[in-house]
């Protein structure tokens, strides 16, 4: 019988140095390696999700009572958001001060404190370590080191800001105030949808997408694809591509708003219609129940669609009366979670509520105009698998990241990459 040779310890895996992203490419050539490398993901954790940016955490409406908590993520870091007896909202890592076990094992609930299941160390609703089990030992034996102090040992805390019922958190105390971070233009469009109203959660779903999180972020900022990939509207001749609308890109680039509004004059503009007719063939089919798309007047302007993103990974959506928030969360380089929270408002009439529920067929994992977004990132991932050294081209609408009044532009995506490069130092 031969004795197998002992396996030699394998040499450390050879990690190729990260290539450089040429400065002259700006944001109009995006190298595919940016989606593929673990070292980029690690740098994103440090520079973005743990850095001076605002992570959307949850809705204030989810924390009504003292002791209510929600377990969420900031990037890939688990976080607990609470409301304490003083009425204030706190956020801290979902990580025990002792050996690091998860503190919250449910998505939401109401608690007096967070006692770890492992060795019962207790943490307050503010995220402070307040109790160590068997601290003094038993009958004079055991117990924690004499010089151990609980102060400052708790899980890492976040700075919290609440904006029109949206709770944001940052791991960096020096982050700009949320108002400055967003800028007036984006701020006022969040207010447009949410200010002075009490949201009600209608449902929550999470989509697991087979691609890097940044591909979905690009997709939400890509107003160019909307009328081409999502053929629901064009097929059923419901398209309003002639609607007037535009794009707002925040000053630093990373946040954006794209919007369109009812424009009765424009809809009759045959020339504009014709410009789109060759993209997909005309059909003679139609929906038999168009009440699915019925809507009511909710805002005092004519805007029927507003997609808004906050750098790096938050989306607020108004599609007619379908309102939702989305969070884009990395799960490794090639996978992500897209969290959807569908919302209505406390003073909705039953009829208005029904309208929102029907319209929600347009969005989410099975949405008539969003299911395509679920698979397109995977198509890009698979398409670019062997081409880390090649780049995507973002030249629609020129090379600027300026706001404008058409949507056949990649300005908002270039804006994202501009801020991304700046913050990542890449």
């Amino acid at each position: 019988m031969t004795v197998p040779e002992l396996t030699q310890p394998s040499p450390a895996p050879y990690v190729k140095d990260r290539p450089t992203w040429p400065a002259e490419d700006g944001a109009s050539q995006v190298p595919y390696w940016i989606f593929q490398r673990d070292d980029v993901l690690e740098r994103e954790r440090e520079k973005l999700f743990h850095g001076p940016i605002w992570n959307f955490l949850c809705l204030e409406a989810e924390l009504e009572q003292a002791g209510d908590f929600v377990a969420v993520y900031a990037g890939e870091t688990p976080v607990i958001v609470t409301r304490d007896v003083n009425g204030e909202v706190y956020a801290f890592e979902n990580r025990c001060a002792h050996r690091g076990s998860l503190l919250a094992l449910e998505d939401r609930g109401n608690v007096k404190d967070f006692t770890c299941v492992y060795h019962a160390w207790t943490h307050s609703l503010q995220g402070d370590l307040v109790g160590v089990a068997f601290k003094d030992g038993i009958k004079g034996c055991g117990g924690i080191a004499e010089d151990f102090r609980m102060e400052g040992r708790g899980p890492r805390k976040m700075r919290v800001s609440i904006l029109h019922g949206l709770i944001f958190g940052s791991f960096d105390e020096d982050v700009d105030d949320i108002e400055d971070y967003l800028g007036e233009a984006v701020l006022s469009r969040i207010a447009r949808v949410l200010a002075g109203r009490k949201p009600v959660v209608l449902g929550r779903f999470t989509q697991i997408l087979p691609n890097n999180w940044k591909l979905y972020v690009e997709n939400t900022k890509d107003s160019y694809h909307a009328s081409i990939l999502h053929t629901f509207f064009t097929t059923f001749e419901l398209n309003r591509l002639s609607q007037k609308g535009g794009i707002i890109v925040s000053e630093s680039g990373g946040s954006h708003v794209s919007y369109s509004s009812v424009d009765h004059a424009g809809e009759k503009d045959a020339e504009k219609q014709a410009a789109y007719s060759d993209i997909r063939s005309e059909s003679d089919i139609s929906l038999s129940d168009t009440s699915l798309l019925a809507s009511f007047k909710e805002f005092d302007d004519d805007i029927t669609l507003q997609i808004l993103s906050v750098f790096p990974n938050f989306v607020l959506q108004q599609i007619q009366n379908s309102i939702a928030v989305r969070t884009v969360l990395p799960r490794g380089t090639d996978s992500m979670h897209l969290k959807w929270t569908y919302i209505g408002f406390e003073d909705d009439t039953p009829e208005q509520r029904r309208t929102r529920l029907k319209l929600s067929n347009l969005i989410g994992p099975a949405g008539y105009v969003s299911m395509e977004d679920g698979c397109i990132g995977g198509f890009v991932r698979r398409g670019t698998a062997g081409a880390p050294d090649k780049s995507a081209v973002l030249a629609m609408g020129g090379y600027s990241i300026e706001s404008g009044d058409d949507r056949i532009t990649e300005a908002a995506i270039r804006g994202f990459w501009t801020e991304y490069r700046e913050r990542m130092g890449l």
Binding site: V201, P365, A366, E372
Partner: protein
């Protein structure tokens, strides 16, 4: 009316209808899917979490057979996604609460999805919470089907109905 003979008869009727239902989705012509429902039907796909909390929204939320037809029409004519198919495995319907010509039932399901470039993968498990109406001697139609997914996480997208 909840005697054993009635329950057995309804269980058989529901099981037969469900066998035909999954056949049209998995191997047949999914244009026939709406025909398993009454004109005034309701069809929803939601998660166990949302269902437990009484949250109303769905991944799909359709009212009336016409909306179900539109769903299939849209899938076949308008939506874009990679070719895939399902294989449903159903449990035995558990019939309860017979009332007049309607009754309720619950059925566990397991659905695997076969994608163009992938293996057969577990896609969804859950239960159908159904309300059926008698339609003739041995046939039943769905008045209401709430598809309650065990998980709130959905891989990539939900195209074909469950």
């Amino acid at each position: 009316m909840n005697d054993r003979a009635t329950l057995n008869r309804l269980t058989t009727a529901a099981a037969g209808a469900q066998a035909r239902y999954v056949h049209v989705i998995d191997d047949g012509d999914c244009n026939l899917w709406p025909d398993f429902f009454t004109d005034d039907c309701f069809y929803q796909v939601t998660s166990a979490d949302n269902y437990r909390q009484g949250l109303e929204a769905g991944v799909i939320w359709l009212e009336g057979k016409a909306m179900l037809r539109d769903r299939i029409l849209s899938l076949l004519e308008a939506n874009i996604y990679e070719r895939h198919s399902y294989r449903h495995l159903l449990g035995m319907p558990h019939v309860s609460a017979v009332d007049g010509d309607e009754f309720t039932s619950e059925t566990s399901f397991l659905v695997v999805r076969i994608t163009r470039e992938g293996p057969t993968e577990l896609f969804a498990t859950g239960r159908y919470i159904d309300r059926y109406r008698m339609a003739g001697d041995d046939d039943v139609k769905l008045v209401k089907r709430v598809v309650v997914l065990d998980s709130s996480y959905i891989d990539t997208l939900l195209g074909l109905p469950l």
